[in-house]
Symmetry: C2
Subunit: 403 residues, 2 copies
């Protein structure tokens, strides 16, 4: 029997929200730039050197030997109890394990939050710029996303209050990534954090705090989370992707007890539960204080790589009127091209010279800065960083003086 042998007009009607779903600009760029020989500062991937492969191999064997059938069976939607307890215990405020929901990566936390808090047309506030993956996770729930003015210290709390709105227009929450933000690498200052939670509490605006990078500090830990200051007004998203490995897809949501039942029901409807096997593997790896030994090695590596990129920028961009910041941790730094130059237009020229980045425009909910671009310093080697930054400088130079 041939397929498609039944005569039929196209029967598919897509949901309205499908119009808002678009391929990730970044994934499209990554495809272009994954040619052999390209030095890529574009990806948001942690360095695979940091993955504790041996610890995982031991943990897998141990879990399957001692608890294999439970690890391979259906499990509770909340997540594996010992892992939830470990997460609650290591957070720097008083968290009941009942407030911890294990998610399939912290991306899923964003999906669940969107389902539970966003109606079609609901206002949602974000930083300028903000994490692209959050914009994508929220989009299917059809929010009106509004950018709040932000500077090197974080969101402007007066603009936040102005944009919160009233009545039916009132924002459902502010999504904020205070530590070593993706894409800018910036960290919200202590003063700004305190001002933000106080203002949010005063105006009754919930905060959704995303913290995938907080453990990746270089010299000192960032100020404590927003949620630690105001747990009843915040949902907190955490991840094992940057401190262990992203390929296991494990993150978590910490929510006020009043919100938890709805997040849990959304979780159950979304994928029943996150893989029981992976949860047990991670609990097994973590149990003897593994992260306290392992994470400092990631910090040291990323600090060296960041320093190499800052060195290379200083040397290679001399006289080019290019600006950049100096992150205190994380994986990214943020570059601003000379006036009149466009990062989107620069990209193909840079790829011709053997180097790739992500134009900053991808990270704005509205009014992108055409001069901005994101560089990741964690995947390329120190040697590649020097070569890649030199190539980028050459592309900028040629763009400034064409011909």
């Amino acid at each position: 029997m041939k397929p498609n042998d039944l005569p039929m007009a196209n029967p598919w009607t897509l949901a309205r929200r499908a119009e808002r779903m678009n391929p990730s600009v970044i994934r499209e760029i990554l495809k272009v730039t994954e040619k052999p020989g390209i030095i890529s500062f574009a990806g948001g991937l942690p360095s695979p050197k940091t993955f504790p492969v041996d610890a995982f191999a031991e943990a897998c064997a141990q879990v399957l030997r001692t608890d294999g059938r439970a690890a391979l069976q259906y499990a509770s939607s909340e997540g594996y109890a010992p892992l939830r307890e470990m997460i609650a215990a290591q957070l720097p405020w008083d968290v009941d394990p009942a407030q911890v929901l294990i998610t399939t990566g912290s991306q899923q936390g964003l999906d669940l939050v969107a389902k539970v808090l966003i109606d079609s047309g609901s206002r949602v506030l974000v930083e300028t710029p903000t994490y692209l993956g959050a914009l994508q996770a929220f989009a299917p729930m059809e929010p009106e996303v509004v950018s709040v003015a932000s500077d090197a210290e974080g969101v402007d709390v007066d603009d936040l209050e102005r944009k919160t709105g009233h009545g039916a227009e009132r924002a459902r929450f502010l999504y904020v990534l205070p530590n070593f933000q993706n894409p800018t690498g910036r960290t919200m200052s202590e003063a700004r954090r305190q001002a933000l939670v106080e203002r949010a509490a005063a105006i009754g605006l919930p905060l959704v705090e995303d913290n995938p990078y907080g453990d990746l500090w270089f010299d000192q830990p960032p100020p404590k989370p927003l949620t630690a200051r105001h747990p009843e007004g915040c949902i907190y998203l955490g991840s094992f992707s940057k401190v262990l490995a992203p390929g296991l897809r494990l993150g978590y949501v910490v929510a006020p007890k009043a919100i938890m039942p709805k997040l849990l029901q959304a979780k159950q409807a979304a994928d029943l539960h996150s893989p029981s096997f992976n949860q047990r593997m991670v609990a097994e790896v973590l149990k003897d204080g593994f992260l306290e030994r392992h994470v400092p090695t990631i910090r040291a590596l990323y600090k060296r790589q960041c320093a190499a990129m800052l060195d290379a920028l200083k040397t290679e961009m001399a006289g080019l009127n290019v600006q950049w910041n100096s992150p205190d941790g994380g994986m990214f730094l943020w570059v601003r091209l000379p006036e009149g130059m466009s990062a989107v237009e620069l990209l193909p020229k840079a790829v011709d010279k053997g180097v790739a980045f992500v134009p900053g425009a991808a990270f704005y909910a509205s009014e992108p800065d055409p001069r901005a671009l994101r560089l990741s310093f964690v995947t390329a080697s120190v040697e590649q960083i020097h070569i890649g930054v030199a190539a980028l400088a050459q592309a900028i130079r040629e763009q400034q003086q064409p011909g």
Copy 2:
């Protein structure tokens, strides 16, 4: 610093869809019935005896040894290419691997389909009764769910056409589980399948075909899938949960190429990708025709267990005016209590006697049959099946003649 030290009214406004999210009736029942000593026919869990723990242990070690860093890294949203190729190759119609999307369990396939195809108020058609998890997955997109009359052979195609509706009311799809259905255990006949796809094609109604149990036949394979007969008009959902293990949370969607990009974007927004490690483990386990050796052992076990339950029902329910069906595969059978009796009211009495089941009412989008109940024959041992069915019969007997 004390938590909650900031004065603040409850700031949380839930999305309208959150009202439709409810705890799973089944999970609530399972909590009540998970007391020690209760023989449970309530769960929908595969028998852990069937999990190939040793094969997984070998596969884990192999994957981490040869491909560990890629297995632990971020990966493409589509899924691991070799696994997609294996899935396409084993399906009984012509499938391009580009049409296969790996999902975090087939439950996630339902979530993605709902996001891409359901607007608030969209009509969605389901069998009577239907899989509860599908109703839960669809609920956040706020459909109007309409039950299509169904008999032992499957959906009534005339009622289907009547209920498809016109214009803006027109149904977006029919969700259908043709093989050893959850909850009834029934299988759609060859004639009904052909009638259904022909009618669906004629009226331009898409079908969403869910097939988690199709490989678990007792004596002969079920008729070929609806999608094999009409690939352009169907989305097909498959799962590794029942043939390997559910704790890895791996399923897949096969969709027409026109629909694939939107499903992929919804997937990316939902959790970026399913765990790379788990996908490689499964591909490693599958590669030498493992399922051809393994699945027959599951079939044989479930066939014996089903036969034991049918035997026990025949013996214990004699004279009680109870009806049941005789499934050709899968995990469940469907029982109908005597007229006037309610499965919901029977449950606590049955639990008192040491046996649990799921009242059928949970599985109806509307107008539940109060007399129906679902029994799983896969988790309890043959001995427990006899004891449990005897206890159930005793509970029915006492319910019929109270006092």
